[in-house]
Symmetry: C2
């Protein structure tokens, strides 16, 4: 048994908050059984969260939603200011040039998180919100993030219990090495049917991998040929963005 130097009540409250990854609105009873707490306990915790503005109750439905305290905090997130504004400019330029949705991903544990995005202007387009969290197994950005990661990170992901049985580790590792050589990765309908993407790594000045820049769209528009043409453009944008970082 592990020693526990954490606070149970707080853990529970945060668990409640994290439920809002999976849905916008929750009723008390719903929430309480999802996190396995007694109604009355959940009620007390929610009252506290509400007090501090982390959740609000929808006037109409009486259900709980996330509050604006979170927005305020996310403004001060790890990413330096410039990352959200300066890099955003570059991303918009790239979007205007290619016409597809542009995303920025960082690795967080054995997952990747979309920390910034600009949407395609076309009618048919991928939509994924900033903050979305995805596995590191599939997708162009995943492969980029792994191809340049430290060996121990790669190992951790390969040994993740969630690793899909259908995916051959050997072949995957070989693919990563090719990607490391080529400087970019592509994916076609790996994670999401009908979608494709090209991604390139962003290194900071000291040469450490900090993020992956991705262009994504419908796979009938982003054909292998088109993606091969886009790759240098994406890599160049990623390089320029890298020089903007500390």
């Amino acid at each position: 048994m592990e020693e526990k130097r954490t606070v149970r009540a707080v853990e529970r409250a945060l668990d409640i908050l994290l439920c809002f990854r999976h849905g916008r609105e929750w009723g008390l009873t719903e929430l309480s059984q999802r996190v396995g707490l007694h109604k009355s306990t959940a009620h007390r915790l929610l009252a506290t969260l509400e007090d501090k503005g982390f959740v609000v109750r929808d006037e109409a439905t009486e259900k709980y939603r996330l509050g604006l305290s979170l927005l305020e905090l996310s403004a001060n997130l790890t990413l330096p200011d410039d990352l959200s504004t300066v890099l955003l400019g570059e991303m918009e330029k790239l979007r205007d040039r290619l016409g597809e949705t542009i995303s920025l991903y960082v690795r967080d544990g054995n997952e990747r998180v979309r920390i910034q995005a600009v949407q395609s202007t076309q009618a048919i387009r991928r939509v994924a919100p900033v903050g979305a969290r995805m596995p590191l197994f599939v997708g162009a950005s995943s492969k980029v993030l792994l191809a340049y990661a430290e060996p121990e990170v790669r190992e951790a992901v390969l040994n993740d219990p969630a690793w899909p049985a259908s995916l051959d580790r050997e072949a995957f590792v070989r693919q990563l090495e090719e990607i490391a050589k080529a400087g970019y990765a592509t994916s076609i309908e790996e994670r999401e049917p009908g979608a494709a993407a090209v991604a390139a790594p962003i290194f900071n000045r000291s040469g450490r991998l900090v993020a992956a820049l991705a262009v994504s769209g419908p796979s009938n528009r982003l054909t292998p040929g088109v993606m091969r043409k886009y790759a240098p453009v994406v890599m160049e944008a990623a390089r320029r963005m890298g020089t903007m970082l500390g």
Copy 2:
């Protein structure tokens, strides 16, 4: 004495989180005395927050920063998907047309929160992050949000203990009425020296005020004359954005 139906430990943990409004990085001791907790208590709470990904420790400085759980949550914020994507499109159009920074504000209690923004492309420009929180006393957006608010909201703000003594309530209320007639508000160096703004209300389909749309920039570029010219453009954009909402 009030009855308390909240959980102390959770309150404290959230207070710690809220410190990150005022700074990106905090050491343990720093934090603990800011929230008035014993070092050891703060330590335990932070360990819990870290466990759930709400804070992380900067590798280099050993200090605490916000974690990515927050980003993930803020993606699921109250605002429906469309608000962050569809409206964003309109905001970009407006930015491209006027060349200035465009912001979207909602009221939260007696303050306003910037929930979305697109930055000016010009070299000299205002920068304010999404999530920023400002008083409802000053600024074009504040006046718009108050001019169309329910009377009790207006009262609450006028009686807020933080109301600046230098600001005449009578004159302010009169100004609000004019704004309600005109359909837009302007401000020149009210909140921030050297800055000016034009703002218009966004109503949803059922006619309820939901947000304020603002164009802001340096006051030598946004002169009264220029702003008068921009006003109809902003109002028109706000109207169109309103029709996009439920």
